[in-house]
């Protein structure tokens, strides 16, 4: 054709923002433009993807129409803006091209790490493929991202793949817009990529094929440290009780459940009930650990955790135990895989994960049975991710290291989702999810840093409409965790180009995150009450601003009156809250000791319910007879016995009374036992009074008296647990109805507006760590909906303290716009 601009030709400049780098977006645009015979180009810069396209007006319109619709699976488009610019006509005769990356602003969004895709898995297992058994196979649709990114724009030179120059074959794939590996930054092959290496327990190289040798160590009952995407894991054969026990002993982890890796969904089905939702979660690109109900045949006998010698086996045995107690020895081909009891002691559910890197796939196939994969760390410290550190810190714990020479730049622990019925409960949002931005209901005026809580710590940076919630950091009282926290903030600030001017923090004076916030110079501080942050996180997770009736049930958080809250019904929006109702407070005898020893909460609640004289004959008292009166005296004296309205502590008390747990070794252990042992067929509910005061007082003493009476009558603890759950549901619904509708004709409360009672609000948000309890969450949500409430629950951000920083950011954003 001649150099004449055709009639009806136009040119547009388009900007696409969101997660559009490292996800195959440019080849996608390239293919679309070519299909429509447009000319122009597409490129990356610090803000995302920029496009110039020229062609007939109707084709251009179609291009813009189709652009968002068929974007690659990993892309998340936040915004597309377009403006018309003068057509170049004959001056643009080179068709449609792909431009290189250029620096610019630094608002690019970094993709989370993505599990090996089906195409790459096929290559990994295909002997004819040049990447057969290549432990680093990846493409535009999968592979490491966040954990190897040092800086933006996302480009090979800014990742830890920079030290691996591509071979000619890989470079050709990388340059070919029609190839699956076009501009896949971590692309590599056996000739040019990182290599696996097996080391012995002291870090000395071992001979042989690393995968096969690692498999041999595992099969012989050894512990192998496996360098993964976001850190080092510890692996053992999940079917070998002795190996699992050895891992527990070495890691200092008494009975907190481990997750297991299985090769595929079929293998998962041998262990757990895997419905369509579970399958979707298990195979999602984020590949979280999914906590699923175990198949009956695999259930082990839950042991009652009480002082040795006082256990009452009558209440402990699970119905299916006896039949399978002897199955341990069976190993025939037809016998289903049996996970060692020590993997998840006493649990009727199991955390399962499918392989998410080629190394995990190869190991799963090598072993042909489930293996435990747990964070490589000591007790509650953050996952080890630096190579030197790994040998130092884990050397004493493992028999071999399966490592490689690609550096991990950022830590990311495995994410966890609990599936209760068809309800997904996010428990840890980390690898595969972070640092995908979460949209705030309203953009922040000035950049925000939210410092989170203390346990399950996360931080959150917010800029514009984006909240960048960090991966799981851990428990801040550990120095290594505090360092991970401060280093992580520095990394995120640089990566997302955020210079916080507003800093949000919890009001608990002793949280290390609080002290960190208060020490920051030159920023505006926003104090956010713990349970307000919980409710705000649930609201913002749902993209809403409130007002809402916020039910915040958790362990403990610092309350506005200096007591420890945790059984709260708030009337809240993002900017503020009123405490409309709460559980009646009891002392926590010995403070944190009462958290580690749930039976102490039984003492406190029984004393409160029976005026200091609980009935004789309760098993919990008999088991703890030597200390009972002392702990009761501690509570009465008030020495280190802060008052708490916590529902988590109420669960602890009832779990101890039922004989499930007197002592715990990890957070929520007693409450989980109570939930899991509940008799799901039981519909009875204990009565609970809600006293018309302002704030409303939910009387836990009714529950405790009813639990005690039933237990003394010999009612099965599983039935007691169900009635307790149902009673708490009833009380919470009653409180929410009063908060919505007011106290009616009763005393003069209805007219009060400052109390929040009679607010007319018809939406309830459920948040706080207690709502990891699927039974409570499901029944409460159902009962509230029956009473005409709209119910918001967590979808992306955990209801536990891992979501606090996100809630704080939302509150800070709301206050910073409201104030000015």
């Amino acid at each position: 054709t001649g150099p004449v601009a055709r009639a009806g030709t136009a040119r547009v400049r388009i900007r696409v923002e969101g997660i559009v780098q490292g996800v195959g977006f440019r080849p996608y645009v390239h293919a679309l433009a070519r299909r429509l015979a447009l000319s122009g180009w597409v490129g990356n810069d610090g803000q995302g993807v920029f496009i110039e396209a020229e062609g007939p007006v109707e084709d251009l319109a179609r291009f813009q129409r189709e652009l968002p619709g068929q974007a690659p699976p990993l892309a998340v488009i936040d915004r597309i803006s377009a403006m018309e610019i003068p057509a170049l006509g004959a001056r643009d005769d080179r068709g449609f091209g792909i431009a290189g990356s250029r620096d610019g602003g630094r608002a690019t969004l970094i993709s989370p790490d993505v599990a090996t895709c089906a195409d790459c898995l096929a290559e990994l297992l295909d002997p004819a493929c040049r990447r057969y058994r290549h432990p680093f196979v990846n493409c535009t649709n999968c592979g490491p991202r966040f954990t190897i990114v040092r800086d933006v724009p996302y480009d090979r030179r800014t990742t830890t793949m920079a030290s691996f120059p591509m071979c000619d074959a890989c470079a050709a794939e990388y340059r070919d817009p029609c190839d699956r590996r076009f501009h896949a930054q971590p692309v590599c092959c056996p000739d040019c990529g990182p290599a696996l290496l097996l080391l012995d327990g002291r870090g000395r190289p071992k001979e042989g094929d690393p995968i096969r040798e690692a498999g041999a160590v595992l099969r012989s009952g050894g512990v192998v440290a496996v360098k993964g995407l976001g850190g080092y894991h510890l692996a053992v054969d999940a079917t070998r009780a002795a190996a699992v026990q050895a891992l527990r002993a070495r890691k200092g982890r008494e009975d907190k459940p481990f997750a297991v890796v299985v090769a595929d969904v079929a293998a998962a089905r041998e262990l757990c009930v895997v419905g369509p939702v579970a399958e979707r979660l298990l195979t999602a690109p984020a590949r979280p650990i999914v906590v699923l109900p175990r198949r009956a045949a695999g259930i082990a006998a839950p042991a009652v955790a009480v002082d040795p010698g006082t256990a009452d086996p009558g209440t402990a045995a699970h119905p299916t135990t006896a039949k399978h107690a002897d199955a341990e020895t069976a190993g025939g081909m037809d016998t289903p895989v049996r996970i060692a009891d020590a993997v998840a002691p006493g649990e009727n559910r199991l955390g399962i994960m499918l392989p998410y890197t080629p190394v995990h796939h190869l190991l799963a196939r090598e072993l042909a049975r489930p293996y435990v994969l747990t964070s490589g760390n000591i007790s509650d410290e953050p996952i080890v991710y630096r190579d030197g550190e790994a040998v130092d810190r884990l050397g004493g714990l493992v028999d071999a290291f399966l490592v490689h020479d690609r550096e991990i730049h950022a830590r990311a622990e495995d994410s966890v989702v609990v599936l209760a019925g068809d309800r997904e409960i996010p428990v840890r949002r980390s690898r595969g999810f972070a640092p995908r931005p979460l949209r705030l209901p309203r953009p922040v005026r000035r950049a925000v840093l939210a410092c989170g809580a203390e346990l399950k710590s996360t931080f959150c940076l917010a800029k514009g409409e984006h909240a960048f919630l960090s991966p799981h950091v851990g428990d801040l009282e550990n120095y290594e965790t505090l360092r991970a926290f401060t280093d992580g903030i520095a990394h995120f600030r640089r990566l997302f180009d955020v210079a916080p001017q507003v800093v949000a923090y919890d009001t608990h004076p002793e949280y290390l995150s609080t002290k960190y916030a208060l020490d920051l110079p030159g920023v505006d501080l926003v104090a956010v009450q713990h349970h307000h942050a919980h409710i705000a996180s649930c609201l913002a997770d749902a993209g809403e601003e409130g007002p809402v009736i916020g039910v915040a049930f958790d362990g403990t958080g610092y309350g506005a009156d200096g007591t420890l809250w945790g059984g709260e019904v708030l009337v809240a929006d993002l900017a503020g809250f009123t405490r409309a109702a709460h559980l009646a407070a009891v002392p926590m005898p010995g403070g944190a000791a009462a958290v580690r020893q749930p039976w102490r909460m039984a003492v406190a609640h029984l004393d409160a319910a029976f005026d200091g004289a609980p009935p004789e004959g309760l098993a919990v008292r008999a088991r703890n007879a030597s200390q009972w009166d002392r702990v009761s005296a501690v509570a009465r004296s008030g020495v280190n016995s802060p008052l708490t309205s916590s529902v988590g502590r109420l669960f602890d008390a009832v779990a101890a009374m039922c004989g499930f747990r007197d002592r715990v070794t990890f957070e929520g252990q007693a409450a989980v036992a109570l939930e899991q042992r509940a008799d799901l067929a039981e519909e009875g509910a204990y009565p609970v009074r809600v006293e018309s005061a302002a704030p409303l007082l939910v009387r836990g003493d009714d529950l405790i008296r009813a639990v005690a009476a039933d237990l003394l009558d010999g009612v099965d603890p599983g039935v007691v647990s169900a009635r307790f759950h149902n009673g708490l549901v009833g009380a919470t619904v009653a409180a929410c109805v009063l908060v919505r509708d007011g106290a009616g004709t009763e005393s003069g409360i209805g007219g009060e507006t400052s109390s929040g009672i009679g607010s007319g609000i018809g939406t309830v948000a459920l948040s706080g760590g207690v709502f990891q309890n699927g039974l409570l969450l499901g029944r409460l949500a159902g009962a509230l909906e029956e009473r005409g409430f709209r119910v918001l629950t967590h979808r992306r951000v955990p209801p536990n303290d891992g979501g606090i920083s996100f809630g704080q950011a939302a509150v800070a954003a709301a206050r910073d716009t409201a104030d000015r």
Binding site: N478, H530, G555, G591, V595, R630, N640
Partner: protein
């Protein structure tokens, strides 16, 4: 309530109010006492409930506390003053008991109570009896002890089992049904400090007092806020880390049991006859020998080391191999567990 618990709030109060108002070079280091030339001066107020407890009473506490503050400056205690604030109707018999134990404590410490004052306030105030004492001591050594002189590598020594006084007081209040056999550790430490200073090379400063640090960098009695608070002050003042080994910290079983029952960390419990000595690494063994040769230091132990990273923090290596931050408390400890 938080102000006075010995934590961060007290520090903020002292720095914001008192240092601001009284600022001068002798006050500035905010030590247990002030030293000028060969003279050391200190003062302390005593408010304790109950007034009488196993192992002591407010009287010997008021003498020993001030004696110890002088001893921690490296001084030999000489003279004390005593001020009494008495609640109207306070039993004379109790007052006699208190003064008798003050006299005995002064005798044992080799100090004279040379002046005093008494005020009576109306009923319902002063919890029966408050006492303030001030003390003068003399330095016959030139060693300059300073919270700011801790150096990476130094050994951190505690002179005996910790937490006995604080737990004794807590149990003596009688609300806890606990038949533990605890007695307060209240004792004068000047003899112990004198032996320690001479064992670690004697005078090391110039005779007219150039501020030359000796092998003994610093002495502190672990009173309010306990060992944790003292170590935080040292770590901050010297910009060093202090890393403790949990297994080496001496704690009597009865104290440990009471702490477990109450959920209290013994590192934060007050002592009235225990001190922290920070000693140059090369002198640690000599220091330990000197302390252990004295009855009040029989159970002395090296509990940790100073390091250079992270500056200003106190860390505890736990028996599990973890590293817990031993932070300066803002107020009363509240559980941080969600």
């Amino acid at each position: 309530l938080a102000h006075g618990a010995g934590g961060k709030a007290t520090h903020t109060l002292i720095e914001a109010v008192f240092l601001e108002a009284f600022r001068n070079p002798l006050l500035e280091p905010l030590g247990d006492g002030a030293v000028t030339g060969t003279l050391a001066l200190t003062t302390d107020a005593y408010v304790v409930r109950p007034l009488f407890f196993p192992g002591g009473d407010i009287g010997d506490l008021a003498v020993n506390g001030t004696v110890n503050d002088l001893a921690m400056c490296g001084a030999t205690p000489r003279y004390l003053s005593a001020g009494f604030i008495l609640e109207e109707g306070f039993p004379i018999a109790d007052l006699r008991r208190i003064t008798a134990s003050m006299a005995a404590a002064a005798r044992a410490a080799g100090v004279w109570i040379v002046t005093g004052d008494t005020k009576v306030v109306e009923n319902g105030k002063a919890d029966g009896c408050y006492i303030t004492t001030a003390g003068v001591g003399t330095l016959d050594r030139g060693a300059t002890l300073s919270a700011a002189s801790v150096t990476p590598g130094d050994a951190v020594i505690v002179s005996g089992p910790i937490g006995e006084h604080g737990m004794t007081i807590m149990l003596a209040r009688g609300e806890l049904d606990l038949e533990a056999h605890l007695t307060s550790d209240t004792a004068p430490l000047h003899d112990l400090t004198a032996r320690l200073l001479s064992a670690c090379g004697g005078p090391t400063g110039g005779p007219t007092g150039g501020p030359i640090s000796g092998a003994v960098r610093c002495l502190r009695d672990a009173t309010r806020g306990g060992v944790a608070t003292v170590l935080n002050e040292l770590a901050t003042a010297s910009q060093v880390s202090i890393v403790l080994d949990e297994n080496t910290i001496p704690i009597r079983p009865d104290v440990r049991g009471a702490c477990e029952l109450l959920g209290i960390d013994p590192l934060y419990v007050a002592c009235e006859g225990r001190m922290i000595a920070v000693v140059a690494a090369g002198h640690a063994d000599a220091a330990l020998d000197a302390l252990r040769a004295h009855p009040l230091g029989a159970d002395a132990a090296i509990i940790g080391r100073a390091g250079d990273d992270p500056p200003g923090l106190v860390l505890l290596k736990t028996s599990f191999g973890g590293t817990r931050i031993v932070d300066l408390l803002v107020g009363d400890p509240l559980p941080r567990i969600c």
